[in-house]
């Protein structure tokens, strides 16, 4: 076979935002028909690079060739015409429209042409190719995350995509769904597609890709085969220094110690006629243990978190929280919610205000109803040092921080007052290796201090590495497991059984 031109060749791509370089002379070649992994920490420039390829951003300098032809940069339409399809980390789907309409919307060239029939054939072709089934008439919001991702992929393929960019495609998927995705990716490569696979999860990338490129601080530090590189070596290339990949093992801690939080036959549903979202939940959290709750997203985890944190009341059952009598005391419980922008932070306000959101109304931060900003600032400055929050100062708005630093703001606020029990929901979602290790270590420190922690987490590996006990959430029910006598695979099967 004659040597094909590379599917994609980038030369000397340079991009800076307000004078701060985000990509610094990145040159990259992606062979046609390959699955190419792009690795890098948060903020390394992966997404910026992909947005440039997809035409969403215009680079300051540098050029791009697709299939040997010079391609214009900075135009989504041109990039799509050259066969680039991007599946964003946060799906770009119209929730209230059907699957078919979403695909047609993306494929139509203008407002007036709805090329219905051609699209149907196209969808059918790709579904058979990938061995998928899609319910075309269902509104997108009724689909699970995995199904929505399939819609996104089919959408990109039907738009004539030859080079498919998957931005953090596994972030929200269960282990089984990840397996299915990886076989689909392999199928796409066999069908002659080129796939760019972006992730910061090493295991997945090394499993799915034979060629990887690693970005660090806007520079390409490695591009080549995976074979011969150990996980440790890849991780070092990503972060530029030796780190231990977070695998924090410890002996099983708790004896029959104090119960800090207890749920007794808790039921929850929204409408009277709706099916229950939580049924007969019983759980206990003791001092000095981490109770991990695994499960496929959407099996009642968010409802459980809401019931525990008290934002909604259960329909039936009892919840006992230790120390709840002291309602006006600075919180003896802490909550690290799933969506930090929505429920934990006020992004537009400075760091100092966000750090004080729990205790601003308690002594000594208030006097006669007036805020004592001096005390606020000393407290915030101390927390910033203690939790290593990187910014120019405590007056910077939280929205200017990176994801990891934003999560550190949440941790600093929630964990600094030695809470008795902690509810953490997906606390490492979207964080890089270093920040993930930091978050997990904070939870382990709190456990060592004697706090009871309930960790609802979608990442099974991380969950298993820090939990004393593990329960599985499925269809609104909580199932105990004999972890650690159980294997990871068995727990994975429990998560999916009957689904």
């Amino acid at each position: 076979m004659a040597t094909l031109p590379p599917a994609l060749r980038l030369s000397e791509i340079q991009k800076s935002f307000n004078g701060v370089p985000a990509l610094d002379g990145v040159s990259l070649e992606v062979a046609a028909g390959s699955v190419h992994g792009i690795l890098g920490e948060n903020g390394a420039g992966k997404t910026t690079l992909m947005n440039i390829i997809a035409g969403l951003l215009r680079p300051d300098s540098g050029s791009m060739e697709i299939m040997g032809n010079a391609a214009p940069v900075g135009s989504v339409r041109e990039s799509r015409a050259f066969g680039i399809g991007m599946v964003h980390q946060h799906f770009k789907l119209a929730d209230n429209q059907s699957v078919l309409d979403n695909i047609v919307l993306a494929v139509s060239k203008s407002l007036w042409s709805r090329r219905g029939r051609g699209v149907l054939q196209n969808i059918d072709y790709w579904c058979r190719e990938l061995n998928w089934t899609l319910e075309l008439q269902k509104p997108v919001r009724e689909l699970g995350v995995g199904q929505q991702q399939r819609v996104e992929i089919i959408k990109a393929l039907c738009g004539g995509g030859k080079i498919l960019i998957l931005d953090e495609p596994t972030a929200a998927l269960t282990p089984a769904e990840v397996d299915e995705l990886s076989s689909a990716v392999a199928g796409l490569a066999n069908a002659g597609m080129t796939v760019l696979f972006i992730s910061h999860k090493l295991q997945e990338v090394t499993r799915m890709c034979r060629v990887i490129s690693i970005l660090r601080r806007g520079k390409l530090v490695y591009s080549g085969g995976v074979a011969g590189l150990s996980m440790q070596q890849i991780a070092e290339k990503m972060v530029g220094a030796k780190v231990d990949v977070p695998r924090l093992v410890q002996p099983l801690g708790h004896a029959e110690s104090r119960v800090l939080l207890e749920l007794q036959s808790v039921d929850y549903r929204i409408g009277k006629r709706e099916p229950p979202l939580l049924s007969q939940i019983n759980l206990r959290v003791h001092a000095g243990e981490i109770l991990g709750i695994a499960g496929v997203d959407g099996n009642g985890q968010s409802e459980l978190a809401a019931v525990i944190s008290g934002t909604v009341d259960p329909v039936a059952g009892r919840i006992m929280r230790s120390g709840a009598a002291r309602a006006d005391a600075p919180a003896n419980s802490a909550c690290i919610p799933e969506d930090r922008h929505k429920e934990a932070l006020v992004p537009a306000l400075p760091i100092v205000s966000n750090l004080l959101l729990r205790k601003y109304r308690h002594r000594p931060y208030v006097r006669w109803g007036f805020c004592r900003f001096g005390k606020w600032r000393t407290s915030a400055a101390a927390l910033m040092r203690q939790y290593d929050i990187r910014s120019r100062g405590i007056d910077d708005a939280v929205c200017t921080l990176s994801g990891g630093n934003q999560q550190k703001v949440v941790l600093a606020r929630e964990l600094s007052d030695a809470p008795e029990w902690i509810l953490a929901v997906n606390p490492t979602r979207g964080l890089d290796v270093g920040a993930t290790a930091f978050v997990l270590r904070q939870l382990l420190d709190a456990r060592a201090r004697g706090a009871g922690i309930i960790l609802i987490h979608g990442d099974l590996d991380e969950l298993l590495s820090v939990s004393d006990r593990v329960a599985v959430m499925r269809g609104g029910k909580l199932l105990a497991t004999p972890w650690p006598q159980f294997t990871r695979e068995l727990i994975g099967r429990m998560m999916l059984a009957g689904a």
């Binding site: 985000a22 903020g43 890089d432």
Partner: protein, 365 residues
């Protein structure tokens, strides 16, 4: 230390407002240029305008008296918007305040004691405005009607309620027009400079803005209502009394507008018709120009007052330049300010984004 901080805060406010002032100046110059193009002598227009707005104690006082209701409706909008309560019903609240104040000073004069009548009329007006606002907040909280809708609809209810009252129980004797009797001179707001329009309502309004600034920037209440406005979900998760704060803010907001109406009838016009001006709607513009900051709202209200009063003098003069020009200027200023706000928002977003993409975190081991 404390004083230095307060000073710095005022300074930050000041720099933000310099921009607004600059925009106003540029637009004014352009407007006078436009007048020149239309064939009016530009220097004479400028001269008349300035004289009309601030050429004498009397014109100065009438500018301030015109700014006074704008200031209060501006505060009404500003306080509410900052807390995420989209009260655009200052007009209705203003009218209700004026109506109750007229009723209390022409029909139910308490003991006929001027001080007592004035005090009850002002308090009654503020309460009426506040309660009128609370209706909207109640509808949102318990009946899921958005405040934006209900406040604007309640404006019309207030308008027709006023019209009905002015043709019914409050109608002046011996007239067929929908108007109230004139308030007796002893119940007018006292003047602090005689033979001008400087009534104590102006001082009251200024003091209220300073008070609201302190409440917004320095107190727990102000902090909480700001957080509620920016992110109600986080506020709820932090166990802030979200709904209660929204009710309080709505009451304060409506109260400001109602007080504006009461001050307007007791201090300025002294009787009531259904046509009390568009102060409520103009207040939204005043609040935006003042960047929702009570001190900024003082400046923008005064600017609007000067603009209006000056424009009326130019219209009354031999030049007869239509005073609508003042409204055009206001509209242009607001548009420019909104565009600038949009630009600065985008810039800060972009800066934030670039920071995020470049500040790769190193492991914090």
């Amino acid at each position: 230390m404390m004083i230095a901080r307060i000073f710095r805060q005022i300074w930050n406010t000041a720099t933000a407002l310099t921009l607004a002032a600059l925009v106003c100046a540029v637009v004014l110059v352009l407007a006078i240029g436009a007048a020149a193009l239309l064939g009016y002598p530009p220097l004479r227009v400028a001269d008349l305008w300035l004289h009309g707005a601030a050429g004498s104690w009397y014109s100065l006082s009438s500018s301030c008296a015109d700014a006074c209701p704008l200031l209060l409706t501006g505060l009404a909008a500003g306080v509410a918007f900052r807390a995420g309560v989209l009260n655009i019903g200052a007009q209705g609240q203003f009218l209700m305040g004026a109506l109750v104040a007229v009723a209390l000073s022409t029909r139910m004069m308490i003991f006929h004691q001027p001080a007592l009548v004035i005090a009850t009329a002002l308090t009654g007006g503020a309460l009426a405005g506040g309660i009128w606002g609370l209706i909207a907040q109640y509808l949102e909280r318990y009946r899921a009607v958005p405040v934006v809708l209900s406040t604007i609809l309640l404006n019309f209810v207030a308008l027709y309620l006023v019209a009905a009252a002015l043709q019914g129980p409050l109608q002046a004797v011996g007239t067929a027009a929908a108007q109230s009797p004139e308030i007796a001179g002893k119940y007018w707001l006292p003047l602090f400079v005689p033979y001008t329009d400087f009534h104590i309502g102006i001082i009251l309004a200024f003091m209220l803005s300073v008070l609201l600034w302190v409440v917004q920037e320095r107190t727990v209440f102000g902090f909480e209502s700001h957080v509620v406005g920016l992110n109600p979900d986080t506020a709820k998760a932090m166990k802030m009394p979200v709904a209660w704060r929204q009710f309080q803010i709505m009451f304060i907001s409506g109260g400001c507008a109602g007080l504006g109406g009461a001050i307007q009838v007791l201090g300025q016009v002294h009787f009531m018709t259904a046509h009390m001006g568009d102060y409520g709607y103009a207040g939204i513009a005043v609040a935006l120009l003042g960047r929702l900051n009570p001190l900024g709202i003082i400046l923008s209200a005064v600017f609007f007052g000067f603009l209006d009063t000056g424009a009326f003098r130019v219209e009354e003069s031999s030049l007869a330049l239509p005073h609508d020009l003042a409204d055009v200027i206001k509209a242009v200023v607001i548009l420019v300010m909104l565009v600038l706000a949009g630009i600065s928002l985008r810039r800060s977003r972009r800066a934030a984004k670039s920071e995020r993409t470049t500040s790769a975190e190193t492991p914090s081991a």
